[in-house]
Symmetry: C2
Subunit: 320 residues, 2 copies
């Protein structure tokens, strides 16, 4: 029996799992990423997490094919170096693959975390049995990953798939990337919360006021309120879906994909989000590619990242 | 010596050329598409054009590898059938490949015309020596083609690359596709002429008034006036470039290409168009992919279509 390890290094948790080579998860665990977030600290925690899961499952290293690691930021799967990672500390030209591989005496491959999540959904989730698949992840920002003709598409510098940075409103809100009106500034989970906060501050009537007052307002509380019928919460989700639909239409006309899936907690809003998303995308897409595409919720939740990292390791070594 | 024939079926002309298998054009010709534009009439004219160029060059059919044909509309390179072609008459499920191949007793492959032009520029023009290349053609509408990892990218239904139908202004002008604010409604050559006409009608001061009065206003007269310093003409071209830059930025962030080229007569405007295009794209793109991409004029002019159709035939048969 041979095994593969998948790791997803996130801002809050490092998630680690052991899979068999069919993609079944044998065991999974998570450890805090911690506040330091320096390369040495994060790499040490990742190493420990992997050593621990191997020991706890009594697996011999000789039976492990290798380790796939998803990591945020601009990195090269070819060199194994993380060039930069905006939400981590002092991550500049970090030899992540080489260091982890040295620590663990196992082959390691590294991938952009959003790409890994897209591959996870393509391999085992919402994109199964397709050849052309797009994943949007709706979180603090909006990330993405693109699978074309059954291959992860990464572009010439491995930075393709920045689907959060498509302009939707020319003079819209300023984005962290420097642009204005990126879809990330209009439809991410954190942006939805910000818009709702501002509207409540300005006196809108909504059952969400108690969450606002108790500082517990979240994307989840918004879609729960909407599910209970709060008209304001419903309108806010519908607007978010509409913006996502505008961006989706351009992707549909450009890439003619089979499935576009949406991950992140906000995607649990169901039709409160997806009905306006689909109708806006339909209005703005050409008929043939719109009739083809399925617009769905991602299905692997928080497991997509480590599953996809493991899957990309397998795919890379299968092709060698 | 072996030869390959490239054909570009356009709204006005059918262009036909004989190439050697290195891509050198041995001979080229064009014939009018005519006003009928029915499948039988266009196919007859295409057949005649090919027979004539073969005879005029004293080439034996046994020395011809095959014929690549670029055709507008929604078609399948796999089945050889043109599903529909909006600017032709009664083109519904036309077996173009089979009919031409039967008429000429030679292997035929058919391709979407915009994809063929993109492949032409990739093979022999502005996209040479790249692996990831985007072509926009600025004409009556805006067409496009996408080459990724040295392959023509066509999507699951062969309708990817509809780059003219990316939304740039949410509530912008109504597009022929049904959407509002597609880049095609803001920055095509015909749209530029329309905008300039409307502004002159409303009394704007410009040297273009004489072209307007004599009904000779064209994209060319606009950029010629701009080159002579007409401030209004310069502003109009700069606006066009700006809109193209907004659409380019989303493509840069999504696909991380090496080169984006612009074809069609309007691309001859040079920096009057390209300086605002580049600066707008820079403002709205992430740094790594923007620093990589070259934004240039396409280099093959009207030859891109038949060259690319021939090249795609070669590529398809090379891979078989």
């Amino acid at each position: 029996m041979s095994f593969i390890i998948g790791v997803d290094i996130g801002g809050t948790y490092i998630k680690t799992a052991i899979l068999n080579n069919k993609g079944d998860t044998i065991s999974k665990t998570q450890t805090e990423t911690g506040n330091k977030k320096t390369p040495s600290d994060v790499i040490q925690r990742t190493t420990m997490s992997i050593e621990t899961i191997i020991q706890n499952n009594n697996i011999k290293k000789k039976n492990i094919i290798g380790i796939g690691v998803g990591c945020p930021g601009q990195l090269s799967s070819v060199t194994g170096i993380v060039e930069s990672s905006p939400n981590m500390k002092n991550w500049k030209k970090v030899p992540l693959r080489q260091t982890l591989s040295g620590n663990l005496s196992l082959p390691v491959e590294i991938f952009n975390d959003a790409n890994a999540a897209a591959w996870g959904e393509f391999w085992l989730g919402a994109g199964r049995k397709t050849s052309t698949f797009i994943l949007y992840t709706l979180g603090t920002g909006i990330g993405g990953g693109i699978i074309l003709n059954r291959q992860l598409y990464t572009g010439i510098d491995e930075c393709a798939g920045e689907l959060g940075h498509t302009t939707v409103i020319l003079d819209g809100p300023k984005c962290g990337c420097g642009n204005h009106g990126c879809i990330e500034t209009l439809a991410s989970a954190s942006r939805l919360v910000k818009i709702v906060q501002d509207k409540i501050k300005n006196g809108v009537k909504t059952t969400l006021k108690k969450d606002y007052t108790s500082n517990t307002l979240s994307a989840k509380s918004i879609y729960l309120a909407a599910k209970k019928g709060d008209p304001f919460a419903k309108e806010m989700l519908s607007n978010t879906g509409r913006y996502l639909g505008i961006a989706a239409a351009s992707i549909i006309n450009t890439l003619n994909p089979e499935v576009i899936a949406y991950g992140g907690g906000l995607s649990n809003a169901g039709n409160l989000l997806f009905s306006s998303l689909r109708s806006e995308a339909k209005k703005r897409s050409l008929a043939v590619p719109f009739n083809r595409v399925k617009i769905v919720k991602a299905s692997l939740g928080n497991d997509a990242g480590f599953l996809g990292a493991a899957g990309l390791f397998l795919d890379k070594h299968r092709n060698q």
